[in-house]
Amino acid sequence: MKKYMIWIALAALLLPALARGIWFYRGLPPQQREIATPDYQSFAASQPPISTPLAAEKVKPAGGVVLFDMAHANQFQPSEAQSLEEQIVRRGGSVETLLDASLLGQKLKYVSAYVVVSPSAAFTDEEIRLIEQFVERGGRLLVFTDATRGTVYYDWWNETITNFSDAALVNPLLAPHGIAVNNDYLYNVVENEGNYRNVFFDQFGKNELTFGLKRVAFYGTHSVKTEDGKVLLGGSASNLSSTDDAHHPDAGGAALSADGGVLVFGDFTFLSAPYRSVADNAALISNIADFALGGKREISLLNFPYVFSKPLVQVYPAEGMKLTAETIAALGGLQDALRVINVELRVTDKAPRAGDVLVLGVFEDAEKLEDFLAPFELELSEDEKTIALKKFGEVGRAGNGLLLFERSKDGNTLVLLADSQEDLLALISTLGGGSLSGSSEESAEEPPAEETPEGEAAPETQAAPAG
């Protein structure tokens, strides 16, 4: 009896606690666990692949002037282009900057290449026309955009941020050349150079610009596409465009126009330190310098006063022509224009056989100047009312003048012919103004220079009537 009661008492004592325990707890508490957290010490900052120094690289002296645009609120500091400038100077070239957009036409007359970096001001139609002409005549246009250099506007009223891309500002410039910069940026979260927006390119369009490249890295680049040109820098399938998060094989980091005169990059940062020496960026910069100085400019009347190749120009008035005080004054004005580019005029009474020559005459003196006029196939009508040039057709003599330009290996010749001495003065004065844009300037389509049997380039001729 007593043993039985002890069990009942024990049960009565424990049962409430047990019931409460069962009510609240369903099994034993979880065991102590190992919780894995990242091994923070094992993460190291990535290191960029450094390219082999190019100290032993041999460069071909080229000379020429490369003009950097700074007249369109360009978003870069000259020091950022130092790597390219160094390579240009190494090749005997020099660098100038365009600070005043109104001087663009003047500058493009003599430079080898025009470089536009991330503008934030629009190009005018006139500027676009000038640049297009510059490229058509063998000049090189280099355009660098940059996805990190858009102009950010903060709207204080709406408290919104808007980013205006430089792509929209360069595309009108590039449209005539079949290239467009996309308003996007390329990124790669799989394989990149330290950050998703720093992408590698290892697929290259065959061209001198990509010679010797295995891999280049760009730092915040737009993608560039071309209709009929060549995409120079392509990347892996994991290089995606921010526009649609997709890979576009027909767009890359750089493109070259079909005529080879326009080179466009989606990035500019790769030119600056320390990125200039990452991967094969230094080799690419070197190739860009070759491209900038490698154009074959066609010197034409449009390039006046940069039409002479020597520091001395011999002024040859047609035999019997009097150099009046007015003529000398007009020549003085012309000399002023030429002095700016370090060219001196010197009058001679003997027909020069070599060197740069400025020939002056009136239509009546045409026979006396036969040696200079022969390449232009000039015909004077017997009634003395019209003149005919094979490439222009027939024009009236009265009130018209002719500017005839011939390029040759021995020197360039510019012939100024007019109906009267007064018209000739007007023509010289127009030239002295430093520009031919005020005249009714026309240029003839010249056939490509033919190689003579001796291997010398045949002289190139150009003529323009000036009314």
Binding site: A9, P16, A17, P30, I35, P48
Partner: protein
């Protein structure tokens, strides 16, 4: 011996052997505590003060046995990297002892998502904002020197070069991704590229990608925490109150406009795991 005495004689042993132990047992049972599911709420950005409060609550939960599990109720855009990491590491220690379940209310973005992957289970509302995995930093300017300020090294004034700073950000991002991988394990269905893209997803989409476990309310999270802790008929408690933490200290983490409107931009430059949503247009 009368009838009454006989009855008492019969009852007394039962009272002695059953009644008294039963009363004693009932009193004893009161010492079996009702399990507590502690709730830690984060309704702010993660910065020094909010992180300090969270850590105090985590420590309380770890040290007090009646708290059998913790629910982390999140509505935060994230915050500073170092404060996020500090809470994450304390949370890992707690999780070693007790289950932790995350309940995403409005948003668990960036650093707040970093904290949620330190939980055993993640609930999100269908339209909660989840993800935005990544790091934001303000690059220092390129080093230059002042005539009037003398410093002892080229980076004394700037801390690091721009390039190094950029690479540090990616290093932090790699650790963030590692935390996601470790926390989610096989449940993570999204590709690494998707995870580190920085996108922010709706809760339902986050579940589909394996960034969260289920669509559910905070009560579901409490039940799940109880299940993982092996308890039932629990009570919930705000750990802030249990830990005796005073009301939240006001700290100007975000820039406020002159009109007193809080913007999503932090006051100080730094390295952040933070979601910065666009501002609504003003009328």
């Amino acid at each position: 011996m009368n009838e009454n005495n006989l009855t008492w004689e019969r009852i007394r042993p039962w009272l002695l052997w059953l009644g008294v132990p039963l009363i004693a047992g009932i009193l004893l049972a009161a010492f079996v505590p009702q399990p507590v599911i502690g709730v830690i709420r984060l309704d702010d950005a993660i910065y020094s003060y909010s992180a300090r409060d969270m850590i105090a609550q985590i420590e309380y939960a770890a040290e007090n046995p009646e708290v059998r599990a913790v629910v982390l109720a999140l509505d935060s855009p994230g915050g500073t990297v170092v404060d996020t990491e500090a809470v994450y590491m304390e949370l890992a220690k707690l999780r070693a002892k007790k289950p932790v379940v995350a309940a995403v209310n409005g948003m668990a973005a960036s650093g707040a998502y970093y904290l949620s992957v330190g939980a055993d289970y993640i609930y999100a509302k269908p339209s909660s904002l989840v993800g935005n995995i990544g790091v934001i930093s303000y690059l220092p300017p390129s080093p230059f020197i002042f005539e009037e300020i003398i410093s002892s090294g080229p980076y004394k004034l700037w801390g690091a070069s721009r390039d190094e700073d950029m690479r540090q950000v990616d290093k932090i991002k790699d650790a963030f991704y590692e935390a996601v991988k470790l926390g989610r394990g096989d449940r993570l269905l999204a590709s690494p590229e998707t995870v580190v893209s920085g996108k922010i997803w709706l809760g339902s989409e986050a579940v589909r990608l394996g960034l969260a476990d289920a669509v559910g309310a905070e009560s579901d999270a409490l039940d799940k925490a109880a299940q993982l802790a092996g308890v039932a008929n629990y009570k919930t408690a705000d750990l802030r109150e249990l830990a005796g933490i005073a009301s939240p200290y006001y700290f100007p983490f975000f820039i406020e406009s002159p009109q007193g409107v809080r913007t999503p931009y932090p006051v100080e430059p730094g390295v952040y795991m933070l979601f910065i949503p666009p501002l609504p247009p003003q009328q």
